[in-house]
Symmetry: C2
């Protein structure tokens, strides 16, 4: 797959894909005849994982650490698991914040609706 195809498939700009590779989040991606990137299955899996983790604001630096460990093979299983578990904690905190904020907004919107119905009567 070319960078353009990957870009379109995952909704990441070509620049972002090259940036992720340079930072070591993916790749290195194999280059074809014209020195152009040819993304392989494994690259795509990594990209999907990264996209998912970035959607919840896992920092680039942590993903980088994780991917470096991954590249180092099975001896790093424990460290990798630890990173994932930490990330899970972060997710639970975020879920909590979101639920609190949602509650608050729903109440506030309810109040606005009451204000309005008052006016119209």
């Amino acid at each position: 797959m070319t960078i353009k195809e990957v870009s379109e498939k995952y909704g990441l700009s070509k620049d972002t894909l090259r940036y992720y590779e340079k930072e070591g989040l993916i790749g290195p991606v194999a280059k074809g005849k014209n020195n152009q990137r040819e993304y392989q299955e494994e690259n795509l899996n990594q990209i999907e994982f990264i996209k998912c983790m970035r959607s919840i604001n896992m920092p680039i630096a942590k993903l980088k650490t994780y991917m470096n460990l991954y590249a180092q093979g099975p001896s790093t299983l424990d460290s990798r698991k630890e990173i994932l578990e930490n990330q899970l904690d972060a997710i639970n905190i975020q879920l909590d914040d979101l639920k609190k904020a949602k509650e608050r907004l729903l109440k506030k919107i309810e109040l606005y609706n009451q204000e309005k119905s008052k006016k119209s009567h």
Copy 2:
């Protein structure tokens, strides 16, 4: 309440409090004899709301818009409600992303555990 007390109460640095005020997210806060800030009840309510919204990454610019409308009085009720409703949509998207990521991490961690138990047998 002094800026120091507010800072400690809400876990926001004094600089951040002044920054929020400068950006128009709160205040203007009344100044006492020594040109020092004296936070009032309303300021505290605003700070709490802002803290909650910032915890879920509502952008400063949107909060600013919202707070400006608020300061303009009841004629802006509809616009304010719209902002809150948009923010609610954003929250639901984030909740979705988080749940997906959580699922994925739980599965991945499970796999790591399986790898480990394989090794130990």
